[in-house]
Symmetry: C2
Subunit: 447 residues, 2 copies
């Protein structure tokens, strides 16, 4: 990784302003385009906040920041949002507002050589709106798209600085120590497990002995692993983690549940939605059918719960957190919020330095005390690749995390960063999202 220590923060402190020795390439005043991509997180708007605040701090260099309505689709259809019509207060409030304030989409551009129409259209829209900076806030796929756009612009001779902003609750983006969005899900899951386990422990003698929480992370067990942070002493919940990386085998699972109930009195299981059996099939899809005869997708937790009760007779309860976990801004990690915001700002600083086809990333300097800085990675190096959960983060028996995992994960949930409340509910901002007048005569139909 090309690492350039730009920025630094202590576990709790505010990141310092980027210092750089790079010569600044002088560019004419241009507008910027910003888009959010893929699934929401508790902190992606904190990155948007960082991008827009940093852009507003350079009115001599960056004109307006236009956001894509519903992500890259907004660029393709020339459906742009004029963020200059939002007050500084509204932009500041993005820092504590979950989900994606400008809308998002799952839309992957084709390969450059396969279908250039979409890319040409993007350049046409950028040209029409005098866009010189393109910030793309997303995961692997999105960084791949950003990279392709930067290549096309270069070939077409269109002056465009493309900078990615990392985001994904799955924490599977390469080149960064962690990904904004993940720390807050990790905190939500660890807090929820801690609380539900206290509840189960209270009643285990005469009631529920088995509780299963299903969490996200279809391909990698980062979120499942984070649940392990709730256990601080021997015997603490969670007692069994079921990773997507470890093929599910009922017998050792049931044996461990039984042992745990006999030893502790109850058993708390955290299962990845992406759990697979030995044949590689998702456990959630192995032929469940509901009352209406439909195949029932999703729901590893009820399947495991029923299996266990059938075999061991324990009364069970189960929960599926689903979107609640990734949108839970009310219990966000302060570390995560700060990193998301800092990466948004850093993306703009990099763009103003003329750095193209890169993205700012988190570089860990030390575990304890936790220290991090912002580095720079090239889009081509991270595009479309997935970072797997290291095998040495999973305990030898496959059902827990190792001290190495704990060292990595613990700092990511550090600190609280509560949104303001009114009448008992968080005050999340709803932007005006005023449209930029369209100038192109041609319409573009999205696939």
């Amino acid at each position: 990784m090309r690492r350039e220590a730009h920025q630094q923060a202590d576990g709790g402190g505010q990141p310092q302003r980027i210092q750089t020795a790079h010569a600044t390439r002088v560019m004419a005043m241009k507008n910027a385009f910003y888009a959010q991509s893929g699934g929401g997180t508790a902190v992606i708007n904190a990155s948007a906040c960082g991008v827009i605040q940093a852009a507003r701090a350079h009115p001599d260099r960056i004109g307006k920041v236009y956001a894509g309505r519903d992500g890259i689709i907004g660029a393709l259809t020339e459906d742009l949002i004029d963020t200059s019509q939002e007050s500084d207060e509204a932009i500041a409030a993005l820092r504590h507002t979950p989900a994606e304030a400008f809308g998002s989409c799952r839309y992957r551009l084709k390969d450059l050589d396969e279908d250039r129409a979409e890319y040409e259209r993007l350049l046409a829209v950028f040209r029409a709106h005098d866009i010189g900076y393109f910030f793309y806030n997303g995961g692997n796929d999105s960084q791949d798209t950003a990279w392709k756009i930067s290549r096309l612009a270069e070939r077409a001779g269109y002056p465009l600085i493309v900078v990615g902003v990392p985001k994904t609750v799955d924490n599977d983006l390469l080149g960064t120590d962690t990904c904004p969005g993940f720390g807050s899900v990790a905190k939500y899951v660890a807090v929820s497990v801690l609380e539900a386990a206290l509840d189960v422990a209270s009643m285990a003698r005469t009631s529920t002995r088995l509780f299963i929480l299903e969490v996200m992370g279809r391909h990698a067990g980062w979120i499942t692993a984070s649940a392990g942070l709730a256990a601080r002493r021997e015997g603490d919940a969670p007692h069994v983690l079921l990773f997507p990386e470890v093929p599910f085998d009922p017998e050792p699972f049931l044996a461990l549940v039984q042992q745990t109930v006999e030893r502790v009195g109850y058993c708390i299981v955290v299962a990845s939605e992406g759990l697979r059996d030995r044949q590689g099939r998702f456990v959630s899809e192995v032929g469940t059918h509901d009352a209406f005869g439909h195949a029932q997708l999703g729901g590893v937790a009820p399947i495991l719960a029923n299996l266990t009760t059938e075999r061991l007779g324990y009364k069970h309860h189960w929960a599926v957190a689903d979107y609640l976990q990734r949108s839970a801004r009310h219990v966000a990690s302060r570390t995560d919020v700060e990193q998301a915001h800092a990466l948004g700002r850093a993306a703009v600083e990099l763009a103003l330095e003329g750095r193209n086809a890169v993205l700012p990333v988190i570089v860990r300097l030390s575990d304890e005390p936790y220290r991090w800085t912002i580095g720079v990675e090239s889009l081509s190096a991270v595009a479309n690749k997935e970072r797997a959960l290291p095998r040495d983060f999973i305990r030898a028996d496959g059902f827990g995390i190792t001290p190495a995992a704990r060292r990595y994960l613990a700092p990511l949930i550090e600190g609280e960063d509560y949104p303001p409340y009114e009448h008992g509910l968080p005050c999340y901002v709803q932007l005006r999202n005023a449209p930029v007048p369209q100038v192109l005569r041609e319409k573009f139909a999205v696939r």
Copy 2:
């Protein structure tokens, strides 16, 4: 209701100390017994905190507070916890610790005339440990048990002051304006719906259009209704509430989901786990079977989600909050915490006044500004009765709440009361729970 305005608090303020004109009945120094009953809540330990703190403030009247290990079972088996061995700090920390610090159970004593053995045993244990005060923290069933115990003690000529402390997330206890535990679940559900809806809204154009959250409340729709607080403007989520009080009819439900998606772009549904069809059968139990061929209990949300996708084709997501909602102390309602604590204190004050077979309750003085006070209700009046969700809280079409419901519910989620955190996780107290030496020679086997 016999109402006696003892105590008063503004929405945000600290309840004032109980003032009473009743003559104090002088009793010899006695020990107190306290037990937690039924399912955990985010704030039942705040009531325990109130009871123990108030008892400690009267060392001349109350000796030690013994808690039942695992609730009333602890009394039957002479398995008592000596709370005097806990520090003032540990007891204070109960105020911010969810679930049941002394353990609980679902165990209902038989009718007095049917089987006196259990009651006799309780009196034997109380006599053996010089217990003159009995505080029972629970819902309808528990208050019924408390009432029976008070009758038996009276008949047996054993001097025992029995005072209930209300608790239940279901909010179905009669005689009190609200029940500690409910306000915090209501807040959790409203906050979760608000957050998940922002997430769904962000992506609805190209992804999930239907999100269903399943919530607790098997017999009454109080929790389902509270989700409605998340909607503050026309079109806001949740768009459809499914109450256990309203028989589920797929056609009008599907029509409303479709209308909502066409109008708003997506649809957020909150469904009670206790939803029933026109034949009165739980929707969750209508013959679902999982991969292993087992009947799958629980899971209204997936059933509704699959039904809707089958008929309307929308991509869906669903969540089941289960225990997460009732143990979520991290997002507890300050109003709820204050009321739980005040009711614990009030129970002791009532006992010291010699009031027997009563429980302190919440009396609402005004909706806005929200003002409440503590009144007194007789155990016999609330025992074993259920308070239904008023029909005029449910919108005429059966799928939403009315302004009357909103007026009632809104104050109950007011205010935040965060637990302290360390290393990113709430610092919930784990008590020592030291046993009181047993003195009875006879053992008692619990059914």
